[in-house]
Subunit: 341 residues, 2 copies
DNA sequence: ACTGGCACTCGTCTGGTCTGAGTGCCAAAG
DNA sequence: CTTTGGCACTCAGACCAGACGAGTGCCAGT
């Protein structure tokens, strides 16, 4: 029995099953893929593949279905990424080039991804922590209320309101605050700015302390607050309809996860090394309720690090070659856009 | 035949059908609601109700199901809003009180709504147009690139990058710009600020024009740009799973609408007069694909106008009394929070 | 005006049969 | 040792008929 042919059979099974969504039998296989051998031969190979756990038959008189392990072998050794068509490339670039700011880039990316793959797409917002402070602005809302606006290099803007209690503001104190804070914070990476601000607190004149205190505190909090860090954009949930049969068991948990951004992020996985695709198949993931779901993801971001992930969720029975190609293409394109801006 | 009893029968049918999700027959009716008459009598009433189009029987040997018209009569004349339990009231207030900014208020509202009603909740962000300009800030990104930050009274922040071409910036010109723009714009309602800025363009010294021109243009655009105006928050899509049978026909279009914010807004309907509940049942809505879906919505917002809507989508077969009560309660509570801040 | 009775309808449940796709195994042929 | 044709076997799903029963409409009696 030739090892090569056995793998060819597995590949054929995966491809057929993905296309038809039905267990595939030996006869159909030799017909649809010119394997050049008889069904009986294929049956032997199939028996071996089943023995090794790559495929599985739902019931005695049915065809075979790939197992998670089978898909794994397929993506690792058998799949060649399907090259993107010119039309698809064009779609990506025209769609993404119109973006006006970071939010928009993310929104458009996630749309593009879901549209091209016909699946649920997820894009994590680039993390705050790797960016630098561009500017901090203060706006008086009322005599004792202050709006703190933190502007970051990646275009993100964080804002917080601060109650000053009995302390009151006037223009000159506001100016002091503005120059003082920006002197130490502007241009710094988030983490550095945070500690620098801490240091600032200790050297300021005593009479400014009641003002600076709460303000700096809020700023530090806003910087370290990763509550906005786990934001993700989701698109294409309607494609979940294609799970078909296993609705309550598969789709429901997914829909729930769509709103639990933390879960979603864990699913996407750590941002891997730049440009490398990660494929997580079915039960390989951390959540048992997504046993029928695969994740194809990639890190992306400006420069050479990948501060964020994007990817696609779909049934384990998905078209890996083209999904992977699309995810990679979008990740690259988005990274390039972020580089430019 | 007593008119009163006929209505009581309709009410009973609606309640039973909502509870059991199954067509309800005459016998079950008299048993579960102490109507004090025999099944045969009820049958006569039912025949009349069917004649008038309030109920309908799926097939000859089945019970009756309310029609859209039947639900309409029910909510208009028969339903008494179910008062909220103390626990629910507490849930609303504790959940919403923790909100730190406008975004957070909206997020928490939509979460609360979907959790309490066990349905899909939709909350429109308060429209930009009704708020005033708090402050406009400019930050130099590069010698010829400028970040314009527009801070509004409702806590929303809009930001745009401006390319200045050959024009270059320095601190004093930036200060000019800042004071100049804020002098005419700060404190104005959006629309007024827009026109005022237009006027500003004509009276500035000639040498500043190349700088002011593109900046003001961008600002006006950001103000009039309603692309961010149709933003909505959605939560609880997982509850769509309860549509059960009619998956492809009902749920899919809904999931698609969830991402088409424009559609969602149309569905939510015009923000009605403050505090008034709107109920749109099945085909009464503007979209034929949502024939099996009802919308319960209410305007909300600070003061006495309702710049935005919030509401709940669900199957026509929903528990109107409690849904309506919840929507109203949340709308009121959110309005109050917006009033305070 | 209400009620009990009765004949009727028709969707669903049950059990049984049939069909065909697909298998595993074996013996014969390369 | 590998491949192939043949053959008996399994079993899910389709199909069918009959029984069941929930629910109805109508009518005559109270």
């Amino acid at each position: 029995m030739s090892q090569d042919r056995k793998l060819a059979v597995l590949r054929a099974i995966v491809e057929d099953y993905v296309a038809t969504e039905e267990p595939v039998g030996s006869k159909a296989l030799v017909e649809r893929h010119g394997l050049g051998v008889s069904p009986a031969t294929v049956r032997n190979d199939m028996a071996a593949l089943e023995e090794e756990g790559f495929i599985h038959q739902p019931h005695t008189s049915a065809g075979r279905v790939p197992t998670d392990k089978g898909y794994r072998l397929f993506v690792d050794r058998l799949a060649t990424l399907k090259p993107m068509s010119a039309a698809e490339k064009r779609a990506i670039s025209t769609f993404l080039d119109g973006a006006v700011d970071l939010d928009d880039v993310v929104q458009r990316s996630v749309r593009t991804l879901s549209q091209l793959t016909q699946q649920v797409a997820v894009v994590q917002y680039p993390t705050l922590s790797s960016s630098t402070v561009r500017h901090v602005e203060f706006v008086a809302l009322a005599p004792s209320r202050l709006l703190v606006v933190l502007i970051l290099s990646n275009g993100r803007v964080e804002q917080r309101a601060v109650e000053l209690g009995t302390e009151t503001l006037d223009d000159s104190r506001l100016a002091d605050l503005r120059t003082g804070v920006n002197r130490v914070a502007a241009g710094q990476r988030i983490a550095d700015a945070s500690t620098a601000l801490g240091g600032l607190l200790e050297e300021i004149p005593l009479d400014s302390a009641p003002l600076f205190g709460p303000v700096v505190e809020t700023l530090v909090e806003a910087m370290s607050d990763h509550s906005r860090d786990d934001r993700v954009a989701v698109s294409g949930t309607a494609h979940l309809a294609r799970y078909g049969d296993t609705f309550e068991t598969s789709v429901r948990p997914l829909l729930e996860a769509m709103e639990e951004h933390v879960t979603l992020l864990k699913l996407l996985g750590e941002a891997s090394t730049h440009g490398a695709l990660t494929v997580r198949i079915g039960t390989e993931g951390p959540f048992s309720q997504f046993a029928a779901t695969s994740v194809v993801s990639s890190g992306y971001g400006p420069g050479r690090d990948s501060p964020a992930s994007l990817g696609v969720l779909g049934p384990t029975r998905m078209d890996y070659p083209s999904t992977m190609a699309t995810v990679r293409a979008v990740a690259r394109y988005v990274s390039r856009i972020l580089d430019e801006s």
